[in-house]
Amino acid sequence: MPQVNTDFDVIVVGGGINGLTAGAYLAKSGVKVVVIEKGDQIGTHCATEEYATPGWRQNPHASGIWTGHSTAMMDLELEKFGLDLYVPQFSRATPYLDGKAFAPDLWNANRTYAKWRKFNEHDAKVFKDIMNAFVDRRQQIMRAFVYSPPSVENWDTTVRLFGELPHVPSDYLNLTGYELIDTLFEDEQLKAQLAGWQHACAFEPFLKVIGPIGALLLVSSFGVQQSIGGSHQIPHAIFRCLVHHGGKVLQNCEVTKILVKDGVATGVELGPHASYPAKTLLARKAVISNLTPVPTFLRLVGEDHVDPAVARVLRNYNYWGVLFTAGYLSKQEPNWVGSEFDPDLKKAWHFNFGADTLAEVQKCFSDVDRGRIPEKLAFLGANFIFSKHDPNAAPKGLHSVQLWAEVPYRISRHSGPTDWDEGLTQDVLDRCTARLDEYAPGFSKGIVDSFSYSPLDISRRNDSAIGGVWSGGTVQPGQLYFDRPFLGCHPPRTPIQHLYLSNGVWPMSFSWLGAGHNAALTVLEDLGIKRPDWWSHEPLEWIPTWAKRNNVTLVPKITD
């Protein structure tokens, strides 16, 4: 086997789900592509592991799955390649300590509307108007905002579509998310729920522009899916599609260098422990980096090939926004407070809880900002009962419950993240358990096993996830939309010719598979290849087909 491999048109650095998606789209379009992954497993942020009792499958990273919204579901035939997604009826349920609860029905908007009315008639009316107008626009919004590369045209379309929603002030981009929520709604608990969900999804509500857009997107959010068998089935399915169409994947191969000659990316070099024989791979057409911006430019490209101003921006790149995972194997499901108020809470699989008022949400994140474990831990964004719709998630008769607590990566009173090695992990796990007991009294009595996964674990496993970040970099001014990852980058293109990004760009992570789709779209365009007919470019087509197949009647608009 020669030391230099010249077989490929496109090299993708990093076998995360967006890198695989970019690779699969290109391979299916007839491009010769190879994806190179440092780790043993592809799809690191879609891992499924058995960290404790065997047969108890945890998804320590992506858990609630957005892949069902993706163009790739149909374009890449992910179901044919083994992906089995379930669309749960009750997601994002919230128990409140005062005995109230809110469990939106994602199959039937009328029922969700009725639940809003139990809290506040005015808010329910606002919700109804926004939701109904949003439903008419959501495919357009998703296409422009997520499944197209950032452009002036797509931005204008997105801003206009959100701005057309009822009750939205004309200067809404000038408001923070908090302010918009405050303008639209009256009820404190509903406001807290929305703001918390926004924080958790990295649509930071304390910011202008992304804050109000995030608020509107999440008011009318369509909920997340569960990957039956575990989230890792997603990379498995994309991988099989990629291989089926002639693509290659090299695992256990660390890329140590992206080769750049005269401002053009020409290939990659592999590290000394790489498991494949060739140590240099040349890319005839393009290199796509699925790593986050700092490792891509400062580690692999190297500062010699990066404009000094860009290097400076990158050295200050913000990777804020991490999660601590606590998992429980239990004899019973949590018996939530508020289950009498809203019995659907018992049927829900996905929860937000721990911050009952807007002030509590803000206090939690202000603690995190200052490098403190929040006094009152909040679990916003993704807490799951994996065994709810997937009997394989836990051994027979037991339940799998997982919490994500918002925490800082570094604890300010000490020097670094190694506090997580020094007893902090156990301490936070214990506090998670105690906090869960407040919202689900007696839950801890049924626990038979537990596990924890700290932000340090995340960054040790995946050193592209600097500071344990899940989003590929904080979504904030200077790291948003066109400017993401940095001003002058024109993502997914970069200042280096033939080098593209499929991560750390807009749209941010999740399991939308948007960034991978957009990178492939752009590379194809630059190669002068016409988009093939099978590439529909239409998001949100899969969910109605799933519903039809499963005899689920979806009621997306409120008619009551």
Partner: protein, 535 residues
């Protein structure tokens, strides 16, 4: 997918995958059904925050000698073997070691330092014989169909090496050591442990040749770069490119028999998948008694199947993520002992090893002796940049009288770690950052084909080895039921990730289905055949 399948394979372990890759390259349409969400069976590497724990198999005892390595282009698919020059170190007291190398001359130097030159030369004589027998006869035989014992004896008796093997076949491991006059108990203990570790009884006559195989394999073991799951990925990559399909999260509950012939399987979800041949990689009880059903079997076969014996021991492992590489006190006198792949601590004499096994048989927790492997010392990719991955394992009973693994799991691990730390010069620096205790009950829970933690699907007894594995009616991978084959660790040549069962079964099934046997017998095996040492 259904309807036009040639072969459906139950279980995506190393043998099922190997079989699938060979048959699909022979143009058969092959589907593997796997109960778990992840493939690989015992080739399981799991990432604990950058610390890669190989939860089942750690090292490969055949390495590049496995024919699938070349036939399936595994190097191109990223399978690399790392063969540490220092293979095993046996620690005595707190600060002495006997170190065994790939190079027997270096081993002899270490033996000479500890036990004198005479003992070293006896070791060399022993090693010379077992090496020759392994390379020319025993290892190549792994990848040939099993031969009935009388024919085998006839074949072997015609050469000197063959006669050695036949002599050993009569002896027990202890008798073999006596035969080579290895008297120093420290050397005896080290060899006895290495040769018997995987379930060979030290005083059971009739399996001495297995002892020769295991001593040799344990001194020529290799890690797979990146973790053992890499071998699974490599085989599967090769299999995918040849068109193999896999369905995970799919448990088979029934093998469908029509008119006495196996025609397919039924899954737990009720789906029926039909194929020309059904291959089970599970142990005989599960294949026949659970999935075929006694009503489809001759009573005599049912009796035989029910008499199938599992191992009386299993493994306990504690997987550790450390801050620093462990250093041994014995490194002062024997500088390379800390670089060994297998670092054996806690045994003082060969009697203690024998007692260890007896305790396992008596369902008592044995003393805190263990084999330690600092995986990331050999392969830095198996730990984060700021850490070290270490595996500590001990042979234990599946069942503990008067207790349970749920209760004993943590205290037993504590004892193993404390005992090991006693041998270290930097015990206060290593710092345990991650620890995952893995008792035999977990082995069975994760991989139910390892019933009662029996990692080889069935004990290595003279009556369950070679041509008799799993029994004469099911020898050579076929079964009394047309269309049904077996190809797991319960078939010849047994467990331990040799890929032998899958490889040999591929030949049998390809011949039966009249597929093109596209692969060639590797040279070292052909040489053995030509010498009359290999069937």
């Amino acid at each position: 997918m259904a309807g036009d399948l040639d072969v459906v394979i139950i279980g995506a372990g190393p043998n099922g995958e190997t079989l699938a890759a060979y048959l699909s390259r022979a143009k058969a349409k092959v589907l593997i059904l796997e109960r778990r969400d992840e493939m690989g069976g015992g080739l399981a590497t799991q990432d604990y925050g950058g610390f890669r724990f190989n939860l089942h198999a750690t090292y490969m005892m055949m390495g590049e000698l496995m024919p699938p390595v070349d036939d399936l282009f595994l190097a191109q698919y990223g399978v690399n073997f790392i063969r540490p020059p220092v293979q095993a170190a046996f620690f005595y007291e707190r600060a002495k070691a006997l170190t065994l190398y790939l190079d027997p001359k270096k081993s002899a130097e270490s033996i000479s330092r500890l036990a004198g030159a005479a003992e070293a030369s006896k070791f060399l004589a022993f090693y010379h014989d077992i090496e020759e027998a392994n390379l020319k006869c025993l290892l190549p035989t792994t990848y040939r169909p099993p031969m009935p014992p009388v024919e085998l004896a006839t074949m072997l008796s015609s050469s000197e090496i063959g006669q050695h093997v036949l002599e050993w076949s009569e002896q027990s491991p202890i008798e073999m050591l006596d035969h080579y006059e290895i008297r120093d108990d420290r050397v005896r203990a080290a060899l006895l442990y290495l040769g018997c570790k995987w379930g060979i009884e030290p005083d059971l006559p009739g399996i001495g040749y297995m002892f020769a195989i295991y001593v040799y394999r344990m001194l020529n073991a290799a890690l797979v770069g990146g973790g053992t799951h890499r071998l699974n990925s490599g085989i599967m990559r090769s299999a995918y490119e040849a068109g193999v399909s896999v369905k995970e999260n799919t448990e088979v509950v029934k093998i469908l028999i029509e008119d006495g012939t196996a025609v397919g399987v039924r899954t737990a979800r009720g789906e029926e998948i039909r194929a020309k041949a059904v291959v089970s990689t599970l142990p005989p009880q599960q294949t026949f008694l659970q999935m075929v059903g006694e009503d489809q079997l001759e009573p005599s076969l049912v009796d035989t199947l029910k008499a199938w014996e599992l191992d009386e021991w299993s493994l306990y492992m504690t997987h550790l993520g450390l801050r620093r590489l462990p250093k041994y006190r014995a490194e002062e006198s024997d500088p390379h002992c800390g670089e060994a792949l297998s670092q054996i601590v806690g045994f003082g004499s060969s009697q203690e090893i024998i007692d260890h096994w007896k305790k396992c048989e008596a369902k008592e927790l044995p003393g805190p002796a263990s084999t330690v492997t600092p995986t990331s010392f050999f392969d830095p990719t198996q730990a984060p940049r700021d850490g070290v991955t270490v595996r500590v394992e001990s042979e234990v009973p599946y069942e503990i009288l008067g207790s349970s693994w749920e209760k004993a799991k943590k205290p037993f691990g504590d004892r193993l770690v404390a005992t090991w730390e006693d041998y270290l010069s930097n015990a206060d620096e290593i710092r345990i950052l991650k620890r995952f205790d893995y008792p035999p009950t977990y082995i069975e829970a994760k991989l139910p084909s390892m019933i009662r933690g029996s990692i080889k699907h069935g004990a290595y007894l003279p009556t369950q080895m070679g041509y008799f594995r799993p029994n004469t009616e099911c020898s050579n991978y076929a079964t009394p039921i047309p269309g049904l084959y077996t190809a797991g660790a319960s078939t010849y040549p047994g467990g331990m990730i040799t890929l032998g069962p899958g490889y040999n079964a591929a030949l049998k099934i390809a011949e039966d289905l009249r597929l093109n046997v596209w692969w060639k017998i590797p040279k070292y095996i052909q040489d053995g055949i030509d010498l009359g040492l290999v069937p």
